[in-house]
Amino acid sequence: MLEYGTRIVAGVTPGKGGQTVHGVPVYDTVKEAVDKHGVVDASIIFVPSRFATEAVYEALENGIKVIVVITEGIPLHDELKFVNLAKTLGVSVIGPNTPGVISPNECKLGIMPSHVFNKGFIGIVSRSGTLTYEVARELGKSGFGESTVVGIGGDPITGLNFIEVYDMFLEDPETKLVILIGEIGGDAEERFANYYCSLSKRKPVVAYIAGKTAPPGKRMGHAGAIISMGIGDYYSKRKALEEAGIIVVDKPSEIPGAVKLALKHV
């Protein structure tokens, strides 16, 4: 992230305070870091799942407004609570279980490989990690680039959801079109489709949904990727998105073609 140009001013690891890593000072607590460096804009959390929740609360209670939670495996009820608290405090939580956020050529708060992303006008919002890189690469092959890429994470509970990120893209002058990368499980894609229909002003969307061949009732890697209780199957998502006028592609390599098509209708 430092190589990319992200201004990381401090690191926090209990017990390692006083050390310096890649020129960045390390503190034992977030409070010390904030006291020393002033209000920071964001925090990125790599803490293991058993302790990540505490780290999120520490960030929240020290006034940090954007928190990227890379960690996978955080207990469900912990996520429920801190995401709800973040909402009431007006804090944006990105993730959990996310590769992070990147605005090519500007800033990277995450673990994604930089070379795959190029500056452009396409916003990406995704539940996946490496699949997002795949999509970005396909875009790059056709000369398209990204304004900002947001991984909302693969867990059933996410901080920002598709709707909230899309709203941000609507406000973003750099973004002309949005790519939504979804998966089986939950109804986030359906809710997005519904929201999209209700808008009078909108930017075109192209979608890809992973998990067409996933069997019901089985968790496909991601905690949120499970078809259960009658919710979350591929066809329901595809139908909802298509009925809303959103192009849904069958495979990642079809995305650039769909983007060209969607831009024509702008």
Binding site: S49, R50, G73, I74, P75, L76, H77, E79, L80, K81, V83, N84, L85, K87, P99, I111, M112, P113, R127, S128, G129, T130, L131, T132, Y133, E134, R137, G154, P156, I157, N161, E183, I184, G186, D187, A188, R191, Y208, A210, G211, K212, T213, A214, P215, G217, K218, R219, M220, G221, H222, A223, G224, A225, M229, G230, I231, D250, K251, P252, S253
Partner: protein
């Protein structure tokens, strides 16, 4: 992680939720003693984690001791939808006036626990959601303030329950919430919850699903986790990767759940059927990859392997080393096609090419090559 009905009932009854009198039995003799203790007639229920046991003949009735023994023996030596029946639950028969659906689960969108309530008890929730949404009441719970008694009054009105049932419903709904929090549950479901004469409510069936990410908090439950997994799923879990058994004949390995699903979906477009979902996760070591490849090479149904790696924190050379080690140990019995991109891809490619493994940059080129190999 799913709990068996008898385990779920043991837990909820401790919180005061009424369940039928019952005892677990692992052999026909125990079933017989249970029936004697409880009193005939009894219901005999297979304890399996698979759904739809009723329609599959997994629930029997008996009004005489010999019947109990006979039904119990039959069930205990059978399989319900591929799952062996190791235990049965022998319960008193309850005289039911009405069946209700009541569950507490998680609403992803609002990020809150949510009660689902319906007058159509005994109907699968999938059917309720899809076909009778008007008969389903949803009550969100604020996770900071928790369950409040007035929720049960709203539910009772919707269900048109008699006045005598109000207190019991309040007790049940409150207890469900505490169970959910204490056990880190994703789902607490009573389907059906029976209304009996006099206004009582009894949970005829109980389902409890624990959040997998919270199992470490419940030492007593952790050991039970692998029982719902198949042989290969169990092995995969021990080795540290996500694995789901499918029905096809081409093994899939990728890094990242979304990418793995996309790989499965894309090869299906080419008429190839995936044998499994296997996600080695981020930053996998050569050892981990070796185990994954070995697992699939030794899988009887797998005829060929497709490996799709897009390395971010995952290093392509590590992946390559793992693949090569597996091939050297098991042999080149099954064709392997690799698509590899990302961190250290040149080194990874070199290592694989040296051993005669084809490496592609484009997924669909890899799939086409695989298809040719399978058809050739």
């Amino acid at each position: 992680m799913k709990l068996y009905e008898y385990e779920a009932k043991e837990i909820v009854s401790k919180y005061g939720i009424p369940v039928p009198k019952g005892r677990v039995a692992s052999n026909p003799d125990e079933a017989r003693s249970a029936a004697l203790e409880i009193g005939l007639p009894v219901v005999i229920k297979s304890q399996v984690l698979v759904g739809g046991r009723g329609l599959a003949g997994g629930i029997r009735f008996a009004s005489a001791l010999e019947e109990v023994v006979r039904e119990a023996s039959e069930l205990l030596s059978s399989e319900i939808k591929g799952e062996k029946v190791e235990k049965i639950l022998v319960e008193e028969m309850i005289r039911v006036e009405r069946e209700i659906y009541l569950s507490l689960t998680i609403d992803r969108y609002s990020r809150t626990p949510i009660y689902l309530i319906s007058t159509l008890g005994g109907v699968d929730i999938e059917k309720l959601v899809k076909e009778h949404p008007d008969k389903l009441l949803k009550l969100n719970v604020n996770p900071f303030t928790g369950y409040k008694s007035f929720y049960s009054r709203v539910a009772a009105r919707f269900l048109e329950l008699p006045f005598e049932s109000l207190n019991t419903l309040d007790l049940i709904m409150g207890a469900m919430y505490r169970v959910m929090l204490d056990y880190d549950a994703e789902l607490v479901e009573f389907n059906p919850l029976a209304l009996v004469k006099g206004g009582g409510l009894v949970a005829l069936d109980a389902k409890l699903i624990i959040d997998d990410n919270s199992l470490w908090k419940h030492p007593g439950l952790v050991e039970k986790y692998s029982r719902e997994l198949s042989f290969y799923e169990k092995k995969a879990r021990e080795l540290g990767f996500s694995y789901v058994e499918l029905t096809g004949d081409v093994g899939i390995i990728a890094n990242g759940a979304g990418l793995t699903m996309a790989t499965m979906d894309t090869i299906s477009l080419y008429g190839i059927k995936p044998a499994n979902f296997l996600d080695v996760g981020g930053g996998a070591s050569a050892d981990k990859v070796y185990e994954a490849v070995k697992l699939l090479l030794e899988h009887p149904r797998v005829k060929a392997l497709l490996i799709n790696i897009f390395g971010g924190i995952t290093r392509c050379d590590e992946i390559a080393r793992g693949v090569v080690r597996a091939l050297q140990t098991i042999g080149f019995s099954k064709p392997i096609v690799v698509r590899m991109l990302g961190t250290n891809e040149e080194e990874g490619r070199r290592i694989l090419n040296e051993k005669g493994v084809q490496v592609f940059s484009e997924l669909e080129d890899a799939i086409r090559s695989l298809k040719e190999m399978l058809e050739g």
